[in-house]
Amino acid sequence: MIRRDLIKQIAELAHLELTEEEIGSYTNDLRQILDYFRIIEELATEPTKAHPPAEESAPPLREDVACSFPGLAALLANAPRNRDGFFAVKKVIE
């Protein structure tokens, strides 16, 4: 089921540049891992799946209040390039 073209497509979605050799290697890795993971498919046929989901408590919410962040300069300093208080990247609009 896991084929090279699928792995290429996944790498494209994940913004990863992979060599042909790496595509082959990750195809084998994912095939082996997902083969093992098929043990959870057995559960799909068991009646336990019909159980209602466990109760989940909603996370506590606080007021959404805007506040200033004092570390802006330190944040920008971590970027490879910044200009006029913004992260600088290559031109994306012609």
């Binding site: 990863l16 994912l30 959870i40 159980h51 989901p53 996370p59 330190a74």
Partner: protein
């Protein structure tokens, strides 16, 4: 200058004035220098910062309350937790040169309690691994054997404590990353209840599972650090509203014992896949608990074997989303390319190591159109079944105990070529992670081959106190046996 080995004792003596924080810092650096050549636990050691901090602490008055619970205690921090002004790499090239611009909540709390951060510890890249070998920078060695891995992903923190370089360290646990290295290095590691400790300032791997927790040489030190870092935080929306325990009450409660507690022993944690030498030590640990008045009850956690697929599908799905932010725009080195998209792809290709790429690929696949129903959503249902197993068991018992790891040791390089066998190292730690429960590993070995072995104790959500009480009972009984 000889300093005590435990954080409780260092803090007590520094508070009363019979020990000076600056002497503690100097002795700690001497210990780190002695241990590092054979352990390689640290990625960054901050000598000047720690000395400045110790001098500042000395000027704090001795009046009650001014000198905190961790006053003068040196502490190592896993390199995925923000310490303002210190480098943070997550063991990855993609964060090379990054300096944390703010303080994690746990760091604010330990500093308010008087602790001294001495350095950042090595880890598997982005906490993805069980041997610390996926770090882009170096391998950490297990102080119990130079050909052994310390486990992972908090291998640097566990090894630093096991080597006696520091009494306390912070780690993070997503599927066992505190408990497993604690077991393999012979120290105590606690993964608190999901939400008990703020994750603000922890670099996200899998947000529905990540938790920060203590690694320490003793149960009391683990309890002390847990009491300091626990509690609600408005900056973490998954933070539990209940206040953390009072430290003095908690330390006193540790000595109360476990008379009459019902402890469930799941067959799955002592059976297939668990090595014989591990089983022997775990059975001895269980006898320790029984000898102090606990009632052992056989229980069944039928979906234990399904936890690994569920965990790895959920964790990698969340990781594929969390790690999308590393594109060379805001942090780390940026690779050059003809256009922005090309720069993203080349930056990620160069910055991420093999295991991180493998997991991003797996997670992207599990979430992709046409496959999400069969993988990600199926895994969420299995997660629910695993949580139900625990919920049903906790109707009958107060705690659950079994092995932390299937094997007592991992040789260096033993599993790096076989990702699935590395994933299976987490077979017994991922279930409690999926259920969000507090779980701790306490030494109960050594095995017949001299390796440390960890007894895992799991409690109900929010019941760290009983987990720590049982661990203290094992520790005390083992010391006297």
């Amino acid at each position: 200058m000889r300093i005590p080995d435990t954080a409780v004792e260092i803090a007590r003596r520094c508070r009363e004035g019979s020990l000076c924080p600056l002497d503690v810092v100097e002795e700690t650096f001497a210990r780190i220098e002695a241990a590092e050549p054979s352990v390689e636990a640290f990625l960054h050691v901050d000598r000047e910062g720690a000395r400045r901090r110790a001098k500042a602490l000395i000027h704090q008055g001795p009046r009650s309350g001014e000198r905190g619970l961790l006053y003068g205690v040196p502490l190592a921090v896993k390199d995925n937790i923000c310490v303002e002004g210190s480098p943070l790499s997550c063991g990855s090239r993609i964060l090379e040169g990054y300096v944390a611009p703010y303080q994690a909540t746990v760091i604010e709390k330990i500093l308010n309690a008087g602790a001294i951060v001495v350095g950042k510890t090595n880890m598997d890249e982005f906490a993805m691994g069980s041997s610390t070998e996926s770090s882009a920078y170096k391998n950490t060695l297990n102080p119990r054997g130079s050909d052994l891995s310390p486990g992972g992903s908090s291998g640097g923190s566990a090894a630093a404590v096991a080597a006696g370089a520091v009494p306390l360290a912070l780690g993070s646990d997503t599927g066992g990353s505190i408990r497993q290295p604690a077991a393999l290095c012979g120290v105590v590691g606690l993964k608190p209840t999901y939400g008990a400790v703020s994750r603000y300032g922890l670099v996200a791997f899998a947000s529905s599972l990540d938790q920060i927790g203590p690694l320490a040489a003793t149960v009391s030190d683990s309890a002390l650090l847990f009491a300091v870092i626990a509690g609600p935080d408005q900056r973490d929306s998954t933070s539990r509203p209940d206040e953390g325990p009072d430290s003095e009450d908690l330390l006193a409660a540790l000595e109360e014992g476990i008379e009459g507690l019902r402890i469930g022993v799941p067959a799955q944690y002592l059976s297939s896949g668990v090595q014989g030498e591990v089983v022997c030590c775990i059975e001895q640990g269980l006898r320790f608990l029984q000898s102090r008045g606990a009632l052992l009850v056989e229980i069944d956690l039928p979906h234990t074997a399904h936890a690994i697929p569920a965990y790895y599908l959920i964790a990698t799905s969340e990781a594929s989303s969390n790690l999308a932010r590393y594109d060379g725009v805001r942090y780390g080195p940026r690779a050059d390319a003809a256009d922005l998209r090309g720069a993203y792809r080349a930056t990620r290709r160069r910055g991420f190591g093999r295991e991180v790429i493998r997991r991003i690929m797996l997670g992207t696949f599990a979430l992709s159109a046409g496959y999400a129903d069969d993988y990600y959503l199926e895994a969420l249902e299995v997660r629910d079944l695993v949580a139900r197993d625990f919920a049903e068991a906790f109707e009958e018992v107060d705690l659950i105990a079994g092995a932390t790891t299937p094997a007592a040791r991992i040789g260096l390089g033993e599993k790096t070529g076989d990702p699935l066998s590395m994933y299976l190292c987490d077979a017994l730690t991922t279930p409690a992670s999926l259920a969000g429960l507090p779980a701790l590993s306490v030494p109960c070995g050594p095995s017949e081959n001299g390796s440390p072995v960890g007894l895992q104790i799991v409690g109900r959500a929010g019941d760290e106190v009983r987990v720590l009480q049982a661990a203290r009972t094992v520790e005390r009984t083992r010391a006297s046996s």
